[in-house]
Amino acid sequence: MSEYTGVRGTVWFRAFTGRASPMLGDPNSVLTADAPLGKDHARFLCVVPDPHARFPCARHGEVGLEEAFTLATRIREVIEQDKNTIKRPIVAIVDVKSQAYGRREETAAIFLAAAAAADAYGSARLAGHPIIALVVGHALSGAFLTHGYQANRILAFDDDGVMIHAMHKEAAARVTRRSVDELGKFAKEIAPMSYDIRDYAKLGLLYKLLHVENPEEPSQQEIRSVQAELVGAIADARTSPVDLRNRLESKEAREMRKASILVRTKLEAQWLEN
Amino acid sequence: MEQIEFNYPAKRKVLERAHVGVVGSGDLEILLEPAEGEVAHVFIRTSVDGFRDTWKAVLDRFFTKYDGAVRIQINDAGATPGSVQLRLEQAVEVSER
């Protein structure tokens, strides 16, 4: 598992849209563009580092107040525009370091900003827009809940630079009062704790794990291949319910989330009693 | 985590189950249920290893006064013998309401 570099988001955003810029009036940390994807015209969204961001705690790839509300705005724009027509896909390209950790952020309710972005993504999904998340790098905690985790389908690269998790290893060790080595040992035996994306894939939350030789410098062929996978994910989402039940119905979930499935079954039975 | 089991003779049929407590730091939860036969079974899961004798002492004392035929499950996160005693008495009180 390698460190966050903050370059992959821009690389893949440019690969799919030919651009790498914010929309007029938006901060430089949020890239938005509409581009062809299969037979659709999709909106692509990506959060990237901006060393000159107004908020000092959101300059290195963190999802902060401005990033979250900009995402919410650009998604709601699509919902509004497509109100009476075909629902365009929305593709979240995800390589985010973490949420922003700052006093200004807490004072100005970053929890609500993050909820606003998730609300926009989730509302778009419920309205029939296929939401696809492509994890090209890091997807941590609150940042991923904000940007990507409300998707119908999640894809990721099977690369050491890709990490989906709730907290960085050192911080997690501190909070759980274990050594980093102990944590590493648990992570090997306990798939949900692992920092390896291949173990994450066992949880049944991913639509697909894709192989790309070097995610920081993909070939044209690889870009077209990943695009085809996005198109496939969109088609798959369009023929499925708009909720997230597919996450519990996957083959892997039936193996690794048996407790979740049992809870759901038993709760329903007891709910209907009496 | 350590798992410890004890059995004690029981005479009295118990009708109601009881649940008390929380598995918080320094606390424990107890699930008490009626059991068949003339035995009281105690199953303990504790995150603090090496105190089997202390558990035995507390339970020996408890069962000198309690003769219900029960299955008692204890989930412990480092409670003191005093807290264990208290929770056992609470569980009995709830089951006999």
């Binding site: 705690c57 401005e66 100005a108 993050a114 909820a115 907290m167 704790m193 407790a259 | 598995v23």
Partner: protein, 291 residues
């Protein structure tokens, strides 16, 4: 909501904070109408904690109860803050999400059913990491689906507060009810101090913590809908009020334009005095929406 005559003197208060999750949930229902689902005797425990030498709790720290509030069908889901800091694991997360989904299905069958979520939680249970995080994402999806039909009310009483990923769930709520003792924020003071230093947030400064995250600040800045005393009858009354009120015309988390506008106006060159910050945000923003 104005004081409705339930303001209790300090001595007469029945502390809600001192109650455990089960007692808190029970207290919110119309008397005699509630029953617990998947209680401790069903033993739906964490499969992951024993593998790490941690004693599981028989209900995995999550209480689900169904019954009536103000005469209407409601489900209450309460996290037990004393167990693993109320953190979200696979089982506790699924209990909460599945309960909301069942409430949603009842709404769709013509049986209006609200949800009340009692949040004492630090967020993801790190011993279950990615299943805890995924559970929160799924919970958020279920809140979005349910709140179209019936209100989803989040109650934070203290002492744990509501932090981490679960603060996003609170952010999606139809209504937020807080005591002064409670706190709500994405990142706690210790985490911020760890990441960005003591200048950014001195986690030993209790006054600062409540000035930023505390119930009163959140209420006065329009981020919580009701501020209640630590008094069980008053809290139950507030919950009844919001169940009866129904779905709001517009959820707070959907007001992206309003809040984006407010963020754009902020001077980020220095830290803000939380009391001065109140002045910017102490309105309902009806004249602030920008297209």
């Amino acid at each position: 909501m104005s004081n409705n005559g339930h303001g209790a003197s300090f001595i007469n208060r029945q502390s809600f904070i001192e109650l455990d999750a089960r007692e808190r949930a029970t207290a919110l229902f119309d008397p005699g109408t509630s029953r617990e689902l998947l209680g401790p005797f069903d033993r739906m425990e964490s499969p992951w904690l024993p593998m790490q030498g941690i004693t599981p709790q028989a209900d995995d720290g999550c209480v689900v109860m169904k019954g009536k509030i103000a005469g209407q069908a409601a489900v209450v889901v309460a996290l037990e803050g004393a167990f693993q800091g109320g953190s979200m694991g696979e089982v506790s997360g699924e209990k909460m999400t599945a309960a909301l989904d069942l409430a949603c299905a009842d709404n769709e069958k013509g049986m209006p059913t609200s949800a009340v979520i009692l949040l004492e939680t630090g967020g993801v249970r790190l011993q279950e990491a990615n299943l805890g995080l995924a559970a929160i994402a799924e919970l958020m999806a279920s809140i979005l689906a349910l709140r179209k039909h019936a209100p989803v009310i989040c109650l934070m009483a203290g002492t744990v507060g509501c932090f981490g990923g679960m603060s996003l769930a609170a952010g999606l709520a139809s209504y937020i009810v807080m005591t002064r003792e409670a706190r709500l924020g994405m990142n706690g003071p210790e985490v911020i101090e760890q990441e960005n230093g003591v200048e950014e947030f001195d986690s030993s400064d209790r006054a600062l913590i409540w000035a930023i995250h505390g119930g009163e600040q959140r209420y006065v800045t329009g981020l919580a809908d009701e501020l209640v005393d630590d008094d069980t009858p008053q809290i139950a009354d507030a919950i009844r009020h919001f169940v009866s009120k129904g779905v709001p015309a517009l959820h707070r988390s959907s007001r992206a334009a309003l809040y984006r506008n407010r963020i754009e106006k902020l001077d980020t060159s220095g830290q803000w005095d939380p009391k001065e910050f109140r002045a910017c945000w102490a309105t309902n923003g009806s004249n602030e929406e920008k297209r």
